[in-house]
Amino acid sequence: MNYEALDFYEVDSLLTDEERMVRDMVRDWVDEEVIPNIENACREGIFPDEWRVALGEMGVLGAPLKGYGCPGLSYTAYGVICRELERGDSGLRSFASVQGSLAMYPIWDFGSEAQKNYYLPKMATGEWVGCFGLTEPDYGSNPGDMITKAVDKGDHYLLNGAKMWITNGTIAEVAVVWAKLDGVIRGFIVEKNDPGFTAPEMKGKHSLKASVTSELVFQDCKIPKDRILPDVKGLRGPFSCLNNARYGISWGAIGSAQACFHSAKDYAMSRIQFDHPIASYQLVQNKLSWMLREITKAQLLAYHLGEKKDNGNWIPEHVSLAKMNNVDIALEIARVARDIHGANGILDEYPIMRHMANLESVKTYEGTHDIHNLIIGRHITGIQAFTREA
């Protein structure tokens, strides 16, 4: 079944030639290498290592970063890459988001010149995988109260604490870990073989099964002094990373939604009930029409946000709105697509149930749907509603 991406308003005609070439490159790769193998990867619960290699070879990791061997593409191109990857699977897009926006970006923006030169080229090629340690078992939406802490021991830092829900953790060579140093949140680069650092994989997920999710455990973990990120203090550090990742997700979710729409439309056209294709019935057309409507709005939102990111004319609340909306509609589209597929919708012959289960995670990570509502609520009213301790 040849993939024709739904693009009702021809939003992709606004892309540059270069952005379209990048789109086609990633889309072809997803068709040839990801779609045929994704169900097996999910069943085995693995992120195929060939995908890491291919992403590095295509040169899409850390897409919008410039210099140090990074691609130097536009934010719009980064969004398009996320969309095409997530059309394959959210776990695949998660890998790229974490590598680029959460691990490479903080080193690129807040790292020393030596850190950038040492880590970024190898991360851009995918040789070194990165992960990002912010969330803790007891501190998810409220990272500011994190427990993990670093102590200055003169010639090194000593790190203690635990992080949870860390994409790429077990396969990462490099972890960007946020911990409190004298009560202030700082970023530290932890390497796989640092003493006192382990990254056990979390098993038993019903979602993002083709993605590695881990805990990061630091027990008197010794970190050389030159591994602190010198140029950022406080929550601004991790939040800057999250804003870039959330931006990518706002595009990525469209890819999932397009995949679900594509499958639902095809199924509805060929599934005969009461002597006619179910696509000929008004209730099914209503569902398809609603899907097209929401996808089109999401595409316009993402494209315009991309322009704003590229112009530097954006605020985090813009990103919150797009992440929240686009993931929300993608999840709802996956559910409605499952409905159109009837019983077949639960089979892995169709991508529906996998996208649906994935999007449950995507709705929660990188700022839950509710938290994004609170971010926008604060923007509207000027009153923060995250905590009662104002």
């Binding site: 030639d17 270069e18 070439m21 295509m58 040169g59 899409v60 691609p71 130097g72 593409l73």
Partner: protein, 251 residues
């Protein structure tokens, strides 16, 4: 070493083709792609470029839309891009005279192309160009190498394979090759964006496009497939057997 690859943009194999008043309606083609055999020629040309440290020149002939395909070729490693711009129908001879003039203009040690284009299937470009530029030609090749000052190629057929050697200059028309066309990468795409396409028309090539020897009278869609036949019950077995034997010729 100048390596020339000839590329043709054709309707993608997945695109629906509609015929309006006896002509293919090009405006309705949703996606244009590089002809698949040309992709094998391009991959082999890239490998030759790498093994000989040569220069790879990609040439196409066709309307403006074909420029994108040249940029795609640059993204995987073509060094120079030449677009012989021509709108409208050309017969095989006319195309060959335009392309061979462009080839002579740049000078080629070797020319690679697909054995036939996925749309017209005429299969005459390789041999026709070889004739016009005074080069030897081998068709249906799957692999080309440069060894000791000569080119060698593998030709596959149903009875096995044949290895041949040819002196410079020569033309190879590709069947399905050993390796699929490589995927571009971001670096290649960004370089391709900066690469100029040399646009030439018949006048600049010194070619007078004479009146076509071949008149295209009309296109027609293939006849619709007859619907399948359905038989129910054991009593239909003799009918099915008769049909399988006499109509389908499978037993």
């Amino acid at each position: 070493m100048n390596i020339v690859v000839l590329l043709k943009q054709v309707p993608d194999t997945t695109a629906k083709i509609s015929v309006v008043s006896g002509r293919i309606n090009e405006d309705s083609v949703s996606k244009w792609s590089m002809s698949p055999y040309d992709e094998y020629a391009l991959e082999s040309a890239l490998q030759l470029k790498e093994s000989t440290n040569g220069s790879l020149i990609a040439i196409t002939c066709g309307p403006d839309r074909c420029a994108k395909m040249l940029t795609d070729a640059a993204a995987v490693g073509a060094d120079n891009l030449i677009h012989v711009v021509h709108e409208g129908y050309l017969d095989s001879m006319q195309i060959q005279s335009l392309l061979s003039s462009a080839i002579n203009k740049v000078g080629a040690d070797v020319v690679l192309c697909g054995k036939q284009a996925a749309d017209t299937n005429s299969g005459s470009t390789g041999p026709g160009i070889a004739e016009l530029i005074g080069a030897g030609c081998a068709t249906h090749v799957s692999e080309v190498k440069y060894e000791n000052g000569n080119f060698s190629a593998i030709r596959l057929n149903s009875s096995g394979s044949e290895k041949i050697s040819m002196s410079v200059p020569c033309v190879f028309a590709f069947d399905k090759g050993l390796s699929e066309l490589r995927r571009p990468n971001v670096r290649g795409i960004m370089m391709a964006k900066k690469k100029d396409i040399t646009k030439l028309d018949a006048g600049e090539l010194g070619v007078t496009v004479s009146e076509s020897e071949v008149k295209l009278i009309s296109h027609a869609s293939p006849p619709e497939k007859a619907p399948g036949q359905k038989f129910e019950g054991a009593s239909s077995i003799p009918t099915v057997v008769t049909k399988l034997r006499d109509e389908a010729n499978v037993i």
